[in-house]
Amino acid sequence: MSAQAVARRPIADTGRRPINWRRTRRLTGLMVALLFFLFLAFFPIFFMIHGAFVADYDLIDPSVSPFWFSRPLTLTHLTYLFDHTNFVVWAKNSAVVSGAVVAITLVVCLPGGYALARLRFAGAQNIGIAIFMTYLVPPILLFLPLVQIVGNVFNLLNTKWALVLVYPTFTIPFCLWLMMGFFRRIPIEIEEAALVDGCNRWQAVWHVVLPVSVPGILTAAIFAFTLSMQDFIYALVMVSPSAEKVLTIGIPTELIRGDVFYWGELFTAALIPAVVVATLYNFFLDYFVEGITGGAIK
C-alpha cells in the first residue's frame, strides 16, 4: 500500500496537497466542541437579546417560536426605559459610584502597592498576603455590621455614597495585590539610575516608575470598576430610594412590579451595562487570573 502511495504521488501531486484526514477530523471535532461550549455560554444571553427587541406579545404568544418573532422588531423597550423609568439615573449613579471607588482604590493602592513591593523588611511579604486574605472574606460576613456603621457613624444610609464607602473594602485588597505584583516586576535599577542622575525619591517615582506602570494602573482601575459593578448585596441592603439606586439593584426592584415582569425592559436594561462590563473585563482577564493565582504561574 505504501509502495502504491509512493508510486502514485508524482502523478497526483499537481500542486494541491492531499487532504490530511486525521487533521481534518481533529479540527472538526474541535469545532463541534467549541460550538457546544459557545452555545452553553451564550444561550441565556441570547434570550435576553431576543427579548430586548421583540414586541411584548411575541414573548408570550404560544404560536410564536421562543427563538424568533412575528410582529415587527421594536425599540420601544429601549425608549420606555429612557423615558419612563429611572434607568438613566441609575446608570449615572453607577458611573459616579464606580468612578469614585476607582479613584479611592487607586489613591490607596498606588502608594500602598509601591510600598509593599519595595519595602525591605521581614513583614512586608506577610502583610501583602494578609491584605489579599481580606479579599477572601466575603461581603456576606460584613454586610450587617457595615450597614450599622454606614448608618450610625457616617449617616450615609440610603445614599449612593454609602456604596462609595463600602466598595473599597473589596476593591482595595485585590487591587493592592495586583499593584504589588506590578511594581515588583519593575526593576529597581531604573529607579536607582534616576536617583543617581539627581532625582529625589518623589521625582524618581513620578517620572520613572509611574510611566512604566501605566498598564498596571489601568488594570487596577478596570478591576475596581468591574468589581464594584458586580456587587449586589451591599446595594440591596444600603440603598432603597429610587433616585439613589445603582443599576444592579434598580433593575430587579423597579422593573418587576409585584408579579409583573417588564421583560423587554428588564433585558434591555440588564444588557447595556452587562456588555460594557464583560467587554472591559475580558480585556484584562489575563491579569485577573494572574492576580488570583498569585503569580504562581511564572
Binding site: A41, Y114, A115, I129, I140, L141, F232, T248, V289, I292
Partner: protein
C-alpha cells in the same frame, strides 16, 4: 529612614483600610455571643440553609470541574491550532464569548435564566416539551417546586462558574512545557493517565488556589438564589447568605442574621489557612 517615612505612611493607611473590614466583623461577633449560635442549632430553617449551601456548592463545583476542565483542554488545542492559522486575535474573541457567563455581572445576566424558568412561558418547557416531546405534561414548574428550583439554581451556579474554572486550568496548562506532554505521549500514557500523573501534580497549586477562591465565592454569593427563588418555595432553597439577609435585614434581627453568616467563617478560615500554607511552601521552594 527617609524612604521608610515616604512609603510607610500610605502603606499603613492601606493596611488600616483593608484590615478595617475584618475587625468590623470580629467586633460584631463580640456582641452576638454564643447563645445565638445555640438557637440557630434548634432552628430547622437554619439546617435547611446550611445543607443547601453545601449541596449547591459541592454539586456546582463538580459540574464546573467537568465542564471547565474539558473547556480548558479545548481552548489549549484551539490556541495551538489557531495561533498558526488565524492569529491570536481570533482566539481572543472566542474566549471572550465563552467567558461571558463569568465576566457579565450575574445580577444582570440572570434575567435570561429567570425568563427560561418562567412558570408560564418557560422556554425550556416549550422546547423540550412542546417541540421535542422529551418531557410530558405537567411540565416542571422550575421555580415553584423545591426539587426543580434546586436544579435550576445549581444550573445557574455551574453556568456562571465553568468559564472561570476553565481559565484557571488553562493558565496551569499553558505553564507546562510542551515537551512534558510529548514525553508522556512517548511513554504511552493515555489521556487519563497524563491528566492524573503528569498534569495534576504540576498544576496542583494553581488548581487549589482557584478552587479555594471559587468555593468561598460560591458559598458566600447571595445574588443567584436571591434573584432566582429568594429562598422559596417555602424556604426550601434558602442558603446561609439568604437567611442572613432575611433575618438580619428584613427580619431586623441583626444578631441572628450575623450568626447565620458567621457560621460560614470557620470554613472560610480553613480555606485561608490552606491558601497561606500553599503560598509559603511555594516561596520556600
Amino acid at each position: 529612614m527617609y524612604i521608610l517615612l515616604l512609603v510607610g505612611y500610605p502603606f499603613f493607611l492601606a493596611l488600616y483600610f483593608s484590615l478595617s473590614s475584618v475587625t468590623v466583623a470580629g467586633g460584631d461577633n463580640g456582641y452576638v455571643g454564643l447563645s445565638n449560635f445555640l438557637q440557630l442549632g434548634e432552628d430547622p430553617q437554619f439546617w435547611t440553609a446550611f445543607l443547601n449551601s453545601w449541596v449547591f456548592t459541592f454539586v456546582g463545583e463538580i459540574g464546573k470541574a467537568v465542564l471547565g476542565i474539558s473547556l480548558a483542554f479545548l481552548l489549549l488545542a484551539l490556541l495551538r491550532e489557531a495561533r498558526s492559522r488565524f492569529g491570536r486575535g481570533s482566539v481572543w474573541v472566542i474566549r471572550g464569548l465563552i467567558m461571558i457567563p463569568w465576566t457579565m455581572p450575574i445580577s444582570l445576566a440572570i434575567w435570561g435564566w429567570k425568563w427560561m424558568y418562567d412558570p408560564q412561558f418557560s422556554v425550556i418547557n416549550r422546547v423540550l416539551g412542546d417541540w421535542l416531546h422529551v418531557m410530558q405534561h405537567p411540565y416542571p414548574d422550575w421555580l415553584g417546586d423545591p426539587l426543580f428550583t434546586r436544579i435550576a439554581i445549581v444550573a445557574v451556579i455551574i453556568w456562571k462558574g465553568f468559564p472561570f474554572t476553565a481559565v484557571i486550568v488553562l493558565a496551569g496548562l499553558t505553564s507546562i512545557p510542551q515537551d512534558i506532554f510529548d514525553a508522556a505521549k512517548v511513554d504511552g500514557a493515555g489521556w487519563l493517565r497524563t491528566w492524573h500523573y503528569v498534569i495534576t501534580p504540576m498544576i496542583a497549586p494553581i488548581l487549589f488556589i482557584g478552587l479555594i477562591f471559587d468555593v468561598t465565592y460560591t458559598l458566600a454569593d447571595v445574588t443567584i438564589v436571591y434573584l432566582l427563588s429568594n429562598g422559596g418555595p417555602y424556604g426550601t432553597t434558602e442558603i446561609l447568605p439568604t437567611i442572613a439577609y432575611h433575618t438580619g435585614i428584613q427580619g431586623g434581627n441583626l444578631s441572628h442574621g450575623a450568626a447565620d453568616a458567621l457560621v460560614l467563617f470557620p470554613f472560610l478560615l480553613i480555606a485561608m489557612v490552606f491558601f497561606l500554607r500553599l503560598l509559603y511552601r511555594r516561596q520556600e521552594a
